[in-house]
Structures are given as structure tokens and as C-alpha cells.
């Protein structure tokens, strides 16, 4: 049975889609069969970030409405045979997403994949709540600035209230993925520090992805950053996060950070 991970944030533009694609590609490179599902019906992006936009025939809404079979809608990545994409519909309305339909698709994916990564749309509406509804684990993507942190806090509240796990009285594991982090600016106080964010959100840290031009470059090439340049700092951060997600005990570092912060970083090993 596969594990369902929702990548969510509340706020838009913090790096959900980039992170979903990068984590998906990193997990697939561990030889674990991974599918990344785009829940952003009407504003799909994941196909572009994964470089599959010219191969989309059927999508999630088609599968939910019974217009296509699940294998017809799944797109296999050309570079990694363990990586798949289930695209969102660009033309349909998000009202086509129904709880029963999503539950059926997720149940079918669980049987065929090791990892099901759900890329949530921004906001707290239907798309976002359905993306998290059947998840086992949540990755909360947050930028080190106050509005992103507050929206993440709101999303964590919804994860604890509106998901199937919550309704069954269980608690969902939630992990913080801090993206676009700039140690210099955090040190100057221009940006919240890792400690500030952890103190406010009080969930364990999955990884710190430094701000980098490599992310934008990979995105424009249609390649997840973990496939584009595995040696780059953000790719290293995502590889670390993927290992932690898979249950490995990996100390938290900020890849690309040359100064000796290790002593300080030791205290973050919360994930």
C-alpha cells in the first residue's frame, strides 16, 4: 500500500508545485514508484514543471467523471520510469472534484504506487481540502515570512480538523518544508529565522531549501530540480527531505551553506 503525501501551504507562490515535483522525482530516484497528482483544477502547472505538458490527454477530472480509465490519464516521465504524473484539468471547473471521486482515485493509486504526492492548490477551498482529505502525511511548504507562516498555521488547523484521519480521531503527521530560505537575510532580520518559524508552527522540520536560481531554471526547463542538477543546493535539500520522508534519520543542514552552523543546526533535528 502506497503512502499518500499532501504538499500544501495555504498561500500561493511559496513553492508547492516545485516541491511536489522535486520530492516526487527524488523519491522515484530511490527506485520507489511515485505518482505526483495535480489537484489545481483550472490552474494546472505541474505538467509544465515536470515537462509533460505536451503529452496530456486525459486528466484527474476525466477519471473522476468516468470518462477515462486511470492508466489512460497517468503520464510516465521520460527520464525516470518510476515517476508518473496525474495532471489536473485546465478547462473544467473545480466543482467536478468530488470527495467520493477523489477517494476512488486515491484508493486505486495506493494499490499501484509506493508514493502518491498530492500537489494542493493554494487557498482553503474545495481543491485544497480534497487534496489533503485522504493523505497519510502532510508536507507544509512555508517561506520565512509572516504571511506565509500564518497561512501555513491555518492549513495545519484544517489538516487537524477536516481530513479523514482527523475525523477518525487520528492525527496526521505534519512536516515543515521551509523554502526560499536565505541564511544571510535571516541573520540580518530581514526574514524570519528557522527558529522563529518552528516556534510559531510547532511541527517537525522536514528540510530547508535555500533560495536559488537553480529552482527557477529547472522550472523553466520543465525538469524537477532533483532531476535537472542533482548536485545543486536545492536539489540536495530535496533529496534530504525525501530521505526523511521515507523514514531515514538524516541531520538537517542547509545545503550550500558554507559557514559552520552545524552546532546550531543540531537543535533542529525534530523530524
Amino acid at each position: 500500500m502506497g503512502k499518500v503525501v499532501v504538499v500544501t501551504s495555504g498561500k500561493g507562490g511559496v513553492g508547492k508545485t516545485t516541491s511536489a515535483a522535486a520530492l516526487g522525482a527524488a523519491l522515484a530516484q530511490r527506485n520507489e514508484k511515485t505518482v505526483v497528482v495535480d489537484f489545481d483544477v483550472g490552474l494546472r502547472n505541474l505538467d509544465l514543471v515536470m515537462g509533460a505538458e505536451r503529452r496530456v490527454v486525459y486528466d484527474l477530472v476525466n477519471v473522476i467523471r468516468g470518462e477515462a480509465k486511470l492508466p489512460q490519464a497517468l503520464i510516465r516521465d521520460k527520464r525516470l520510469e518510476t515517476l508518473y504524473l496525474l495532471p489536473a484539468s485546465q478547462t473544467r471547473d473545480k466543482d467536478n472534484l468530488t470527495a467520493q471521486g477523489v477517494e476512488r482515485v486515491i484508493a486505486a493509486l495506493r494499490k499501484n504506487f509506493d508514493w502518491i504526492i498530492c500537489d494542493s492548490p493554494a487557498g482553503i477551498e474545495r481543491g485544497a481540502t480534497l487534496a489533503m482529505r485522504y493523505a497519510d502525511v502532510a508536507v507544509v511548504v512555508t517561506n520565512p515570512e509572516v504571511s506565509s507562516v500564518r497561512d501555513s498555521d491555518r492549513i495545519i488547523g484544517l489538516i487537524d480538523a477536516k481530513t479523514l484521519k482527523a475525523e477518525r480521531g487520528e492525527t496526521m503527521d505534519k512536516h515543515l518544508l521551509l523554502t526560499r530560505y536565505e541564511p544571510n537575510r535571516a541573520e540580518r532580520g530581514d526574514m524570519l529565522s528557522v527558529e522563529d518559524v518552528l516556534e510559531i508552527l510547532s511541527i517537525p522540520l522536514l528540510g530547508i531549501v535555500p533560495e536559488s536560481m537553480d529552482v527557477l531554471r529547472a522550472s523553466n526547463l520543465g525538469t524537477p530540480v532533483t532531476l535537472a542538477d542533482a548536485q545543486s543546493a536545492p536539489a540536495q535539500a530535496y533529496f534530504q527531505a525525501a530521505r526523511r520522508l521515507a523514514g531515514e534519520d538524516v541531520p538537517i543542514t542547509i545545503p550550500g551553506e558554507k559557514r559552520g552552523l552545524l552546532g546550531k543546526l543540531f537543535g533542529w533535528r525534530a523530524a
Binding site: 509572516v146 500564518r150 498555521d153 491555518r154 488547523g157 480538523a161 516556534e199 510559531i200 510547532s202
Partner: protein, 246 residues
């Protein structure tokens, strides 16, 4: 005619408090009486033989109108034993006496309609019936999870204790006091049901809004030296007082 006192025993005046129902009429009085009739229809005999105090504070009526209103109530078997909040000029010797110094007591719910028909031979009800007040512990609510942005914790019955932080955009509304053993970044409203004795305590004050008994302070009004400190807030008259706890 003169009477000769045979004993020198004085008459003793004793004080005793009873629970009376307070009615607060609103203008126009005609409409209000219609609503009262509706209530009386649904709970027959509810006002019968119960002591009623009329609270007319802020009600703009003349002495004549008030007298006529009390007569209307009498027609409905509502016996007014006193009038609260009336100017002296409103009351005459033929009207119930003025009352003051009432203590608030729990609100009264009109009972659901009972099929019982008022039987004249029913057991006599004492003229003044004090409601028994069972001793109940003051309820409190304890939350040991962070209160997230967008969440509201509402507990009008009593105190709320939070053994975690309250996020920006979250709100805590308590009938009693609020205790936060963590950072208070959202809104905290204590004494929300009208309780000036309620207080707010927190380990780290970063609040967006603080209110006690309807009086509030926004983040801008909070003294900057209190930010980030453990703080205790209470009400003195119409001002919120603050002090640090460490």
C-alpha cells in the same frame, strides 16, 4: 384613638434576599406586550404569582405611560413588586417601590409548554419563591494543542486554559478568564458574557486584540515594553490594567 403599648418589645426588621425575575420592557411598549403575550401563551402560568421586577433603565416613558403599562401587566397576572432604574419622578405612591442594588443571577429560560392546566386547588405556591441555587463548580476548558490561525475557541461557561500557543488570526473567547501558557499572538476576549472580574494571563504577549468585558485594546494600544513578556491583564473601572509576571 390611642393604643397603649403593653410591651416594649421593638419590631425587628430583617433583611433577606430572594430571587426575582427581571423584565426589561422595550419601546414601543405595545409591541413588547404582544411578545410577552406570545411567551405567556407558550408557557402558561409562567409569570403567575412570581415576583417580577421591572427594569426601566433608559426607557423613555412618562409617569402616566408607566402606570398604564403596569396596569396592563397586572391584567396579564404579572405582579410587579418593584421598579429598577427609574427616575424618582416616574414613581408615585400608587406604584411599586423603587429597587436598587440588584445582583446579577443566572438568566432564566421560560419553560417549554406544559399540558398541565392550572388547577385552582393545586398546592399553594409560596408568594415569594426563591429558586434553589445548587452549588456548581465553575467550569473550565483546557486545550493542550496549539490554537491555529482561523480557529476559534469559544467557552461562555467559564475559564479557558491553553497549554500551547495561540496563533495570529486565532481567537479565544471565554466567559471567564483566559490563561495561555505559550505565546498569545491572536485575539483573547475574556469575560465575554459581561464579567468585569475576568482576567487574561499569558506567557508571551504578542496579541492582536485583547478584551475584557467588552473593553478592548488593539495591538497598537499595547505598550511596546509588554511585547514578548509574560503579562497579566485585568479591568479597573473602564481601563485595562497590565502588569508583567516576571
Amino acid at each position: 384613638m390611642t393604643k397603649v403599648l403593653t410591651t416594649s418589645r421593638p419590631i425587628r426588621l430583617k433583611g433577606r434576599s430572594f430571587l426575582a425575575l427581571v423584565l426589561t420592557p422595550e419601546l414601543p411598549l405595545g409591541d413588547w406586550l404582544m411578545r410577552l403575550d406570545d411567551l405567556a401563551n407558550r408557557s402558561a402560568g409562567f409569570f403567575l404569582r412570581r415576583p417580577i421586577v421591572l427594569d426601566v433603565e433608559g426607557l423613555e416613558v412618562s409617569r402616566h405611560e408607566l402606570k398604564a403599562f403596569i396596569d396592563e401587566l397586572a391584567l396579564r397576572n404579572v405582579r410587579v413588586i418593584g421598579i429598577e432604574g427609574a427616575r424618582a419622578s416616574l414613581l408615585g405612591p400608587d406604584m411599586p417601590p423603587a429597587m436598587s442594588g440588584g445582583q446579577p443571577a443566572p438568566d432564566f429560560e421560560a419553560p417549554v409548554p406544559e399540558p398541565a392546566i392550572e388547577k385552582p386547588e393545586a398546592e399553594p405556591v409560596p408568594a415569594v419563591q426563591a429558586e434553589p441555587q445548587p452549588i456548581r463548580p465553575v467550569p473550565s476548558l483546557i486545550i493542550d494543542q496549539p490554537v491555529r490561525s482561523g480557529q476559534s475557541i469559544i467557552f461562555p461557561e467559564g475559564d479557558i486554559t491553553i497549554v500551547a500557543s495561540v496563533a495570529s488570526g486565532a481567537e479565544i473567547i471565554a466567559g471567564g478568564s483566559i490563561h495561555v501558557y505559550g505565546a498569545l499572538r491572536g485575539r483573547a476576549m475574556a469575560g465575554s458574557m459581561g464579567n468585569a472580574e475576568a482576567r487574561i494571563f499569558c506567557s508571551k504577549l504578542e496579541a492582536e486584540l485583547l478584551a475584557i468585558d467588552g473593553l478592548y485594546k488593539t495591538a497598537e494600544d499595547i505598550e511596546p515594553q509588554l511585547r514578548g513578556r509574560a503579562v497579566h491583564l485585568w479591568l479597573e473601572g473602564d481601563t485595562i490594567k497590565t502588569s508583567t509576571l516576571n
